[in-house]
């Protein structure tokens, strides 16, 4: 089985990019691949716990939490999160925070990289 590294830089609400990334990660995990998701810039919003579900917006906290429990690695850029007022205590359970070199190392070790830039 292979390893997929997904870098996400788009925002949680207002863009469907993270929805795509999560669905892709889910499909890859179902096929038995290792998946790392890196959240940077506005993408760090996905790492915040306590997202409230509304009918008009897609909601990713539950699928992401399930994926993490199932072995997905999700890491947010610490500086990007802190700059947005998201602190360690705000992190989704199982999600980690690291610096950018972690993402580059994840890409280095990956068989495939899908880097989804910001808006």
């Amino acid at each position: 089985m292979g390893k997929l590294s997904i870098g996400c830089f788009s925002s949680l609400i207002g863009s469907m990019t993270l929805d795509f990334a999560v669905k892709l990660a889910e499909a890859a995990r179902k096929k038995g691949h290792d998946v790392d998701i890196w959240l940077s810039g506005n993408g760090t919003m996905l790492s915040k716990k306590g997202q409230r579900k509304f009918q008009d917006y897609s909601s990713l906290e539950k699928p992401v939490t399930d994926l993490i429990k199932g072995g997905l690695t999700m890491v947010a850029c610490e500086a990007c999160a802190e700059a947005r007022g998201q602190h360690k205590e705000d992190l989704l359970e199982g999600c980690d925070r690291k610096s950018m070199d972690w993402y580059l190392a994840s890409c280095f070790k990956a068989d495939r990289v899908i880097h989804i830039g910001g808006e």
């Binding site: 830089f9 810039g41 610096s99 950018m100 070199d101 972690w102 580059l104 890409c107 070790k109 830039g117």
Partner: protein, 138 residues
Amino acid sequence: MASKKFLFMVDKLPYKAESSRLALTHAIASQTVDIHLDEDDEMEEPVIAFVGDGVLNCMKGQKALECYGVTSLEMHIKNALLTDIKVLICKEDVERLGLSEDNLIMDAEDIGADMQSEIVPFDDILQQMEKSNHILYF
């Protein structure tokens, strides 16, 4: 031993969003990636290529600190050169925007960098894309 090469591509305008800043900071972070790699693994010096409207990130004389209170992309580009990152600027886009070498950040001698930016035809950037293991398109 594994050796891999990364290309960072920027086609977004400066300061409109944070894409180009993140491209530069991620490229510069390659300097410390070794701590996460196996002993025999090696990341080649990365390349950052500015294409399309992204070449405007390379304009000289940016006043981001005065205007926005943030480090300018000019400073980030100079730091990239200081850390021996290859900086490529698309020639066709430089000409399309009526720019020349005189308008662009071609070196970072003021902070002690030996590396210089290069204005190259898009074909050369395409070659770099072909040589790279991963392209991170910001």
